[in-house]
């Protein structure tokens, strides 16, 4: 459920700090006026379009490692970013001063940069209704009202439950973030939003005889996050799951290496999150398709003309971009161009059905209206980013998927990941695997990797587990852009089964 409730307070300060414990309260009306002033300044300096975005964020990370507090960080940042079109060229500048002089400086510098930018420049924007709206993350327990000592205790307890004689590194972390955002455009948009995120995870690293193995929960690489209050962290059950995680890390030291070969794989929901992210999410970002990430993150094997015709995968493959998903890290009322949230198909029954777009790329392809533009802070320009990109569930259970395999491998929890610059050739490693024989799980295997070519791999998809197995995973480390930006993205996935997949390396 989305809740729209903002307090509009008049005060001298734009942001006030009531105490060290509570987050700073944003004076939305004053900030809106600041954004309006920036936009007016930009228009006065020659911009044909301008938007201003104020972001005030507080983030807290508590991390423990081997029963020591490793991180106890509390970070605040605030500022205004102004994006302009002058003569068809983009300009962007920012200022940390939430005051009229900061807004003016950012607007004027953005216009100056746009005027100086080389190129032919004829950028157009798809039309969007000028939105006047608000959005606020539903929160049951404010994470910044949770004492830091409670967070430390949770991490230390979870770590103790990871303990095993072969585990030499235990670690646990929890995070919380609150972000206030105000957006105003020269087309009349005026939007206020407040986002709250929480997350956590645990890891056990075992080492013996020159072998090192790791197990994580609920996800690798920092755990999982959701747009929610502290109730999300409490529901993770870090302490409850820790003994299994520690035992599996230790057991992996004695497991056989996963044999190489072409076989059937069943992939768990967490690894499917990254599979969707890397081989569907990034290639369908339309800015990549048009080459604007070519120098860094890469482009895409997809072409604009592929829309509606390219066979991306089998008929079991249904992918949806949904910025309305409750709890999703890519959920919002409006994106960073003021486009309202929505739900759109990206792949339907294996056919490419949509791209992730900005207003600029939507205008260029002549389809859609944007809705995927996000910036990671006030000091960065918005880019086309995944919002929440889901693999729609099929039917049955994970056990059903495994029962349908005579010989194969069950792969669980990401360990390594890499994909080429057009998002075709990928290779993933998982923390743990199990042999499947006669429809049942057999021995544990370590060091499993699998590789493929994106459309061939998705073409080999022959089953996706049903809604009961579908889980929402939130990751916070999606990199893109120069200067670099981290996006927070969610993926809903069920376990899935693929035939004829190269596991390990071709002999």
């Amino acid at each position: 459920m989305r809740v729209y409730q903002f307090r509009h307070q008049r005060a001298r300060a734009i942001v006030a700090t009531p105490s060290a414990r509570a987050s700073r309260a944003l004076r939305y009306a004053a900030v809106r006026e600041l954004c309006e002033h920036a936009v007016a300044t930009a228009l006065g300096a020659g911009a044909s379009y301008a938007d201003a975005r104020v972001v005030v964020r507080r983030a807290q990370v508590v991390g423990t490692r081997n029963q020591r507090v490793e991180r106890l960080d509390d970070t605040e940042t605030e500022g205004i970013g102004v994006r302009v079109l002058v003569g068809g060229a983009w300009g962007f500048a920012c200022d940390r001063r939430l005051a009229r002089e900061g807004a003016e400086a950012a607007a004027q510098k953005a216009c100056a940069f746009a005027k100086a930018a080389p190129g032919g420049h004829s950028r157009a924007l798809a039309p969007v209704a000028a939105a006047q709206g608000e959005f606020r993350t539903p929160v049951e327990r404010d994470p910044f009202a949770v004492p830091v000592s409670e967070k430390v205790d949770l991490c230390l307890r979870a770590e103790r439950a990871l303990a095993h004689e072969d585990v030499n590194v235990t670690s646990a972390s929890v995070r919380a973030q609150r972000e206030h955002k105000v957006f105003v455009s020269s087309e009349g948009a005026s939007i206020e939003q407040e986002f709250v995120e929480c997350g956590g995870g645990i890891d056990a690293l075992a080492a013996r005889g020159g072998v090192t193995q790791i197990r994580s929960y609920p996800s690798a690489h920092g755990g999982s996050s959701s747009q929610a209050g502290w109730e999300f962290v409490e529901a993770l059950g870090l302490e409850r799951e820790a003994p299994r995680v520690g035992e599996q890390a230790a057991a992996l030291l004695r497991a056989d290496p996963c044999p190489s070969g072409v076989t059937t794989v069943v992939i768990d929901a967490e690894q499917m999150e990254l599979q969707v992210h890397e081989s569907v999410g990034h290639p369908t970002e339309l800015d990549r398709v048009y080459g604007t990430e070519a120098a860094y993150a890469g482009t895409s094997f997809l072409k604009p003309d592929d829309l509606g015709s390219l066979r991306y995968g089998s008929e079991h493959m249904n992918i949806t971009a949904d910025s309305t998903t409750p709890g999703g890290l890519g959920t919002f009322g409006f994106d960073d161009e003021g486009v309202p949230a929505g739900r759109e198909p990206v792949v339907r029954e294996g056919i490419l059905s949509g791209f992730l777009t900005s207003r600029e790329t939507a205008a260029r392809i002549g389809s859609g209206g944007g809705g995927s533009m996000r910036a990671d802070s006030w000091s960065r320009m918005p880019l086309v980013r995944m919002t929440n990109l889901h693999l729609e569930p099929g039917e049955g259970s994970l056990d059903d998927l495994i029962a349908g395999v005579d010989e194969g491998v069950f792969l669980q929890t990401n360990k390594s990941w890499s994909i080429d610059d057009k998002r075709l050739n990928f290779q993933f490693g998982t923390q743990i695997a199990w042999e499947i024989k006669g429809g049942e799980l057999g021995r544990m295997l370590r060091d499993a990797t699998y590789t493929g070519q994106t459309p061939v791999f998705w073409g080999s998809l022959d089953a996706v587990a049903g809604p009961d197995e579908w889980r929402l995973h939130g990751l916070t480390n999606c990199g893109k852009g120069q200067p670099g930006q981290h996006a927070h993205v969610s993926h809903g996935t069920s376990p899935a089964r693929f035939r004829n997949v190269q596991v390990g390396f071709a002999q």
């Binding site: 991180r71 940042t77 830091v148 000592s149 090192t212 000091s379 057009k422 290779q427 990797t449």
Partner: protein, 453 residues
């Protein structure tokens, strides 16, 4: 005293604790990012971030903000104090660093510091205008300052400049890559980088596949730098050794690499992006990591050194606190040069193999074994008869870096500074000095997309 150091002292005065450390990072930068020969993401950034670390009864709390008025600093100190009060005592806390005069280093250039948006756009334009193919990449320059003040008497600051151009000349079916980085903009020639990227791109048309297998290879500096940086995260980190996930864990003092391979971390080298001190205030020093193929050392910060057996001392490699979970980091790797006059000479030594310009999307498969996977891109070629020959599709490699380093046919004479900054979060210029290298073993495990956009 610089403005940033004055601010650090103000932060320190606002802090209440047994010990306290204030860190200020300032940035003024511009990036003219271009695609299809047009600037499409021009970004100007001005920011100043203050961090305070407060220690109370052996408990450490950290808070960060970019509000530098008195109210902001008071709130910052209060948040750090609350964090410290909430932490359990750390019996291994090494205390804050003592004051030591940092070495004098190069790394600041007035001309680079004075570049504004128009200059950055002009230098991007110089790259674009020199390319007869569509050009993708950026020109960027920035001036950054790091200042530290502590209750133990540390009071240091360093102002740095950096400039970089990245040039990817690309059309459908062809692409070539070149980059230049330095702390003096005068050392960064956008047009020359662009021209070299174009020449490379022209050679990549008609790329063909390659059978997976183990090949001898020439790695240009950008490719070798990327591979080495990923390997170093665990292999040359004191924390990696303490936690037994480093390749170096049980091999320090052993000859494990080719005797032509020597590696140091040297933040004092004026050819690199020099640093005078780390984020604990410890002076930088040159650390020998590999000498003539023998693993000699890893890098340390104060907490990791205290945790280690054997009386380790910090080597001045504490990262920013936001990266402290990585442990100490070697931000200034420097590979000793060899005797080859050019990459063409390395290709002659290889005879039959592959030639790699640049790598893409690396991932650590096994840190203990030093196994890293990734792709080649923007200039991969077959070497036949000692000559750079037909272009290849982008190749997936899954390489055991120690095996790659175990047999080297040579390295070029002149190291190149390769940018290591992707400009996430707060700007902190880092680079890696390396020549090109020829190896007897580079394991190709698959074929991906072709060159070009």
């Amino acid at each position: 005293m610089t403005e940033a150091l004055e601010l650090a002292q103000r932060v320190l005065r606002a802090a209440e604790g047994d010990e306290a450390l204030a860190v200020v990072q300032s940035e003024r930068s511009g990036m003219a990012r271009f695609a299809s020969s047009e600037v499409h993401q021009p970004t100007l950034i001005e920011n100043q971030v203050v961090e305070v670390q407060i220690v109370r009864d052996g408990r450490l709390g950290i808070a960060t903000s970019n509000r530098t008025d008195d109210d902001g600093l008071r709130a910052l100190a209060a948040r750090a104090g609350e964090a410290a009060d909430s932490a359990p005592p750390d019996l291994d806390f090494p205390g804050l660093a003592p004051p030591v005069d940092p070495p004098a280093v190069e790394g600041f250039d007035e001309e680079t510091a004075s570049l504004d948006a128009e200059d950055q756009a002009r230098l991007a334009s110089a790259a674009i205008d020199a390319s007869e193919l569509d050009l993708y990449g950026f020109f960027t320059s920035g001036v950054t300052e790091v200042a530290l003040a502590s209750s133990t008497g540390v009071a240091v600051s360093q102002e740095m400049t950096d400039a970089a151009v990245l040039a990817l000349a690309a059309v459908e079916g062809a692409s070539g890559y070149e980059e230049r980085t330095g702390w003096r903009v005068g050392d960064v020639d956008p047009a020359e980088a662009s021209r070299q990227a174009v020449e490379k791109a022209k050679l990549t048309r008609g790329a063909v596949e390659l059978e997976p297998g183990s090949y001898a290879a020439v790695l240009e500096p950008p490719a070798f730098a990327e591979l080495l940086a990923y390997f170093a995260y665990d292999a040359f980190s004191g924390l990696g050794v303490v936690e037994e996930r480093s390749y170096a864990f049980d091999k320090l003092g052993s000859k494990v690499f080719d005797d032509k391979f020597s590696l140091a971390d040297d933040a004092l080298d004026p050819r690199g992006l020099a640093k005078a001190f780390d984020f604990e205030g410890t002076p930088k020093q040159r650390v020998e990591l590999v000498e003539d193929g023998v693993l000699r050392g890893v890098v340390w910060d104060r907490p990791t050194a205290k945790r280690a057996d054997g009386g380790q001392q910090t080597t001045g490699h504490a990262p920013p606190s936001s990266l402290r979970h990585w442990g100490p980091l070697a931000f200034a790797l420097s590979v000793a040069p060899g005797d080859a006059s050019s990459t063409e000479e390395l290709a002659e030594r290889v005879g039959d193999g592959i030639y790699v310009t640049r790598l893409h999307y690396l991932s650590i498969v096994d840190p203990r074994e030093g196994i890293i996977t990734g792709m080649t891109r923007d200039g991969t070629f077959r070497i036949r008869g000692g000559k750079i020959a037909d272009p290849l599709m982008n190749l997936r490699f899954t390489a055991r870096v120690p095996e790659l380093l175990a047999e080297l046919q040579g390295l070029t004479r002149d190291p190149v500074l390769i940018n290591q900054n992707a400009y996430y979060d707060d700007r902190y210029p880092t680079g890696l000095l390396t020549p090109a290298v020829a190896t007897a073993r580079f394991d190709i495990t698959g074929v991906g997309s072709g060159p070009g956009v």
